[in-house]
């Protein structure tokens, strides 16, 4: 990066573009995050510890990570399936289905939350089908997972789709001349090729779900200890003018998220390195 014997570059303005990158990232990400941590430190360490180990806070941490993880796994599986269908088959209305995938990005999340709640509430279209068999969807963790699955849907589809598009048929053909059947070709050849892309999509969907607020607050019911997510807890603290407490919870959330994303990225980097070393 700071190589003294400068090799010739196509774009000569390395200093300028690097400087811009650092300033930009600082303004948009680093400084706000630093201020967050700074705000949290206005509390004493024991106060912070008390705030974040409060039963209600711990319960919401568990709920947020658990529901986000499940939603990201669901998206990884079904997002891959959708990408597969969109790439491998030709059918009428394919363009519309393709466009539908991006809808969760375009829709205000609160609108999505209200729509999902209406449908999945005990007297809603789908909710009433589950009510007689004793399954409640809205106002339970299942409802939260559905909302998080909804908002995270595009990530896996959009990361897997191009990889699948570029996947050369000759690998499938080579495997079949070596005697592999279609199940073996899928699990031993195609899936490992898609895996880094699926992992990227998973990480993005997971990260997005961890921070989601708008759609969840409507469908979750926000019962303390049961269906209260971390972002809601933070907002609650803010409404009570407990800025430092909110910052403390947010900081812990941020550290956990960062560790998780770092681990996933490292894993992915390892795979990519293995396959692409020149």
């Amino acid at each position: 990066m700071f190589n003294k014997s400068k090799p010739h570059r196509v774009l000569p303005a390395f200093g300028l573009s690097m400087g811009y990158t650092i300033i930009y990232l600082s303004l948009i990400i680093l400084i706000p995050v630093a201020v967050l941590f700074l705000k949290a430190t206005t509390l004493s360490f024991s106060d912070i510890w008390q705030t974040v180990t409060n039963d209600r806070v711990i319960a919401s941490f568990k709920l947020t990570f658990y529901t986000s993880f499940v939603a990201a796994v669901v998206n990884a599986i079904f997002g891959t399936l959708i990408a597969w269908v969109l790439v491998k088959y030709q059918f009428p209305g394919k363009k519309i289905v393709d466009a539908l995938v991006d809808l969760p990005f375009a829709l205000p999340t609160a609108v999505a939350g209200i729509a999902l709640t209406t449908i999945y509430a005990p007297n809603g279209w789908i909710g009433q089908l589950f009510e007689p068999i004793g399954v409640r969807i809205a106002f339970t963790p299942i409802g939260i997972m559905i909302a998080l699955t909804f908002i995270g849907l595009p990530f896996v589809v959009r990361t897997v789709q191009p990889v699948l598009q570029d996947f050369d048929r000759q690998f499938e053909e080579a495997a079949s001349t070596l005697g592999a059947n279609s199940t073996q070709i899928f699990f031993k050849i195609i899936l490992p090729t898609l895996f880094p892309a699926i992992l990227t999509g998973f990480a993005l969907a997971f990260a997005r779900a961890l921070g989601e607020y708008g759609s969840v607050v409507f469908i979750s019911g926000n019962m303390p200890m049961k269906t209260e997510i971390v972002p809601l807890l933070i907002v609650t603290k803010l409404e009570q003018f407990d800025y430092a407490g909110a910052a403390a919870i947010a900081s812990v959330m941020l550290i956990f998220s960062f560790i998780l994303l770092f681990v996933i990225n490292f894993w992915q980097w390892r795979i990519a390195k293995k396959h692409q070393v020149a």
Partner: protein
């Protein structure tokens, strides 16, 4: 394994890729499918492998109808032009793949697979690469591994689609000899596709010349080179000069068959030198016939060049065309005419 191809046709939409092809490949033969791009040679190879379906006709392996047999049951080894090595697997895993995907009953044990893979790696002389990934190998190494992988499943036919097309000239030359040796050792029926006539002439026992989805000629390298049945084969198999006479009849001669002299002799024709360039042990000379004003190329070795040369642009030489070949329009027998 002997292969019989009977009246096979194939079209892609409107485009007729293979037109009623008949071909008998004896067991243990080393065959080249030679033709320009779009001649259908790769399609024919893929049909033998089962990677492409037939529209009509039949393909028999040792007399058994294989026309509708799935790829994985055909016992063919297929080598792709761009290697198609599995990038997420090590070289060892790539070669072991065909053995590992076998149904449980006929799958060799882990130890047996390991031994077999190392035998093959030794066979292709790349034992030290077992734990590498394909991205760490050179093109020539990749193609050798691709061949080892194809051989791991003990195929009865080896099919190679432009196997050296993506390699540089020197590596290509090495691998030609190497593949020929492997064929001699294993004596397995081998069919390879190429558009390079030199490669076909150098390697194959039998050359099948294809054009526009049809077979133009089948024969030994000697036969197709020295006794081409038509103008297409003649022109495709080497450098060629074309002369059109007053009756609009086209006659052909290869550059090395033209004799050049300093002085007129018999029925030689005066010609003016336009350009001289030496290519290794050969010298190629572009000339202009003074009688018809036609351009042509002659090829002589360096010793001969020293006899008549050095030449420069504008020098006058006498060329005799003693071996002109004329193909009648519909006639398939080569005719030799003397000027």
């Amino acid at each position: 394994m002997g292969i019989t191809i009977e009246n096979v046709s194939k079209s892609f939409g409107e485009y007729l890729a293979i037109k009623d092809v008949q071909l008998e490949i004896p067991s243990g033969d080393f065959i080249a499918l030679l033709g320009p791009s779009g001649s259908g040679k790769t399609t024919l190879l893929r049909m033998i492998a089962g990677l492409e379906s037939l529209d009509s006709g039949k393909i028999h392996f040792n007399g058994v109808d294989y026309s509708n047999k799935p790829v994985k049951e055909r016992k063919v080894g297929f080598v792709f032009q761009h290697y198609a090595l599995f990038k997420h697997m090590t070289i060892f895993e790539n070669i072991a793949f065909g053995l590992k995907v076998r149904p449980f009953k006929i799958r060799p044990s882990k130890q047996e697979i390991k031994e077999r893979v190392y035998d093959l790696l030794k066979f292709v002389q790349l034992e030290h690469l077992a734990e590498r990934y394909p991205s760490q190998l050179s093109g020539g190494q990749k193609q050798r591994i691709a061949l080892a992988r194809a051989l791991a499943v003990e195929p009865e036919v080896l099919l190679l689609d432009e196997p050296f097309g993506a390699l540089d000239a020197k590596v290509r030359q090495e691998l030609r000899h190497w593949l020929r040796e492997i064929h001699e050792k294993l004596n397995i029926t081998t069919i390879f596709v190429t558009h390079d006539q030199e490669e076909a002439l150098e390697m194959a026992d039998t050359i099948v010349v294809m054009n526009q989805g049809q077979i133009e000629q089948i024969g030994s390298p000697d036969q197709v080179y020295h006794h081409p049945v038509n103008a297409f084969v003649y022109r495709f198999l080497g450098r060629v000069n074309e002369f059109c006479d007053s009756d609009n009849e086209i006659s052909y001669i290869r550059p090395h068959e033209i004799a050049l002299k300093k002085s007129a002799q018999g029925n030689s024709v005066p010609a003016k030198v336009l350009h001289v360039h030496s290519v290794g042990s050969l010298v190629r000379i572009q000339l202009n016939r003074l009688d018809t004003n036609a351009l042509f190329e002659a090829e002589i070795n360096t010793e001969k060049y020293q006899e008549i040369g050095p030449l420069k642009k504008g020098d006058l030489l006498y060329a005799s065309f003693s071996n002109l070949v004329v193909f009648g329009n519909e006639q398939k027998e080569p005719l030799t005419a003397i000027l």
